[in-house]
């Protein structure tokens, strides 16, 4: 059995000139906390 989730999430905004192009942390957007093949349990964080 399998569960497929498809959802809308924040994409993050384009960086301003002051932030620089490498500073992703200030831009928001969706971030995954998992890897392919990883074992997960109910309630664990997949992304935020």
């Amino acid at each position: 059995s399998t569960i497929v989730m498809v959802f809308e999430g924040p994409k993050g905004r384009r960086p301003t000139f002051d932030e620089g192009f490498m500073d992703q942390g200030r831009r928001g957007g969706w971030k995954w906390c998992i890897e392919k093949g990883m074992q997960v349990k109910v309630g664990e964080k997949l992304g935020y």
Partner: protein
């Protein structure tokens, strides 16, 4: 045996070898000829590409199910009556085991599939009468703590992450780069499930009534029981949607393009505990209220908000030894469900690699709704050994049912006779479950249902 293996002389007879090669060649030829006929919608019925849809007497031709393309293992599997096997498997596992066989039997099963017996809520394994009950076991409270981050997407079940990422161009990448479209997985956009307005209506019932009446004006209305009974065998009472809690009205069902839309499974509202529902409603309302984006209900429904969004996906595979109940990954509102009565192929990682569009072939229940960032969908996909999908707040749902399959086939034939496309699913909306949110609210971590054997 050792002596026989070592001393028996192998003699290759030419005729069986040639016959075997000829068989494999013919099989491969047949495979290459039929492969080109498959479409993205492989779980549906073959259309008019086989010639006229009527025979010489003007009767509609019986349509054939398309066989999926793939290696010989998939070809063999596609010839098997998988749903019948799944039902037999379920009935077999519902047979009560002898009392003294239960503990060693479950221990053996747990040893083979890696079950952690320390987490099981029921301490005495004798109390599981059969494997089906053991398979659908519950866990001790507190053994699955929820992540404290309120913005996190939680794992809905115990399992393995098969795939995740962002959807570009409407396609989900399966394992090894095989893709399938979101529409094939979830069904196409349905006007009735779209967000009613830019704001959550204070009385969603009135919005629903107006839409329903408008549909009556310009759609073919099939009045009452027998038509929807073709899909689920159950007729639904319209809730207190029209005028009050005591109103019991049969709602005429509209038929659009061969799709049978079921409005308002409100008996579920009566089944739910009022207090727990009120708690869920309050929490989900507070969560959704933080973002006006949550009022949208379909992923393609515009993006006028200041913050850009993207469409993400995540696939979690549950192995046979895992805890087989699933939970809500976020706080969200389920607005509707679509039941696709497809096949029941195995969803093992091997078949996910070799069978393109596996998730769009199998029987599945698509729950559609919204969360604070907009659209949210949750799709439990059945498999051969676990064909029965249970959704706790939808007691009318029957999966892996012979009756449902027969009625879905009949609905497809009826749609073909009337010249309408058949979308392949039966739909129910939950708008009456919560008058405030226009759907069924679910808290993060709340148990939603599960997979049962067979």
């Amino acid at each position: 045996l050792r002596t026989a293996l070592g001393q028996t002389r192998t003699v290759w007879r030419p005729i069986p070898v040639v016959a075997g090669i000829a068989f494999l060649g013919a099989f491969q030829l047949y495979h290459t000829q039929t492969r080109g006929k498959a479409t993205d919608d492989e779980w549906t019925y073959r259309d008019s590409e086989d010639g006229p849809s009527e025979d010489e007497l003007g009767r509609p031709k019986k349509r054939k199910r398309i066989r999926p393309s793939g290696p010989w293992t998939v070809q063999i599997m596609s010839t098997l009556p998988l749903k019948a096997l799944s039902r037999i498997w379920g009935k077999f596992n519902s047979i009560d085991l002898p009392y003294y066989m239960r503990v060693p039997g479950f221990k053996l099963y747990g040893w083979v599939f890696g079950v952690n017996f320390n987490e099981i809520e029921e301490p005495d394994l004798h109390n599981f009468r059969n494997l089906a009950e053991f398979f659908y076991r519950t866990l001790k409270p507190g053994v699955r703590p929820l992540d404290p981050n309120p913005n996190a997407l939680l794992s809905p079940a115990d399992g393995k992450v098969v795939q995740f990422g962002v959807i570009e161009g409407g396609d989900i990448e399966q394992v090894k780069g095989v893709t399938y479209s979101v529409d094939a997985l979830l069904g196409e956009k349905h006007v009735d499930t779209a967000a009613p307005s830019s704001n959550i209506p204070s009385n969603p019932g009135s919005a629903q009534i107006s839409k329903s009446r408008r549909r009556e004006g310009d759609q073919e209305i099939i009045s009452a029981e027998e038509e929807f009974a073709q899909v689920n065998g159950i007729s639904y009472d319209l809730p207190s949607l029209f005028s009050g809690a005591s109103a019991k009205k049969r709602k005429p069902r509209s038929r659009e393009g061969g799709k049978l839309a079921v409005e308002d499974v409100n008996e579920l509202a009566e089944d739910q505990s009022t207090q727990s529902r009120a708690t869920s409603e309050a929490e989900v309302t507070a969560d959704l209220a933080r973002s006006p984006r949550a009022q949208k209900s379909w992923w393609s429904s515009g993006n006028e908000s200041e913050e850009p969004t993207a469409l993400y996906y995540c696939v979690v595979y549950l192995a046979p030894g895992d805890y087989h109940r699933f939970h809500s990954p976020v706080s969200w509102v389920v607005e509707s469900r679509r039941h696709f009565a497809g096949e029941l192929y195995s969803v093992s990682p091997y078949l996910q690699r070799t069978l393109p569009g596996l998730f769009t072939l199998n029987e599945r229940v698509v729950l559609l709704g919204r969360w604070k960032y907009g659209f949210f969908s949750y799709t439990p996909v059945g498999a051969t050994n676990v064909g029965s999908i249970v959704v706790n707040f939808d007691r009318e749902l029957r999966t892996n049912s012979l009756l449902t399959d027969t009625r879905a086939d009949r609905a497809a034939e009826n749609a073909a006779e009337s010249g309408e496309p058949y979308s392949g699913y039966a739909e129910a909306t939950y708008t009456a479950a919560s008058r405030v949110l226009g759907g069924h609210p679910l808290q993060r971590g709340e148990e939603m249902g599960g997979f049962q054997l067979g």
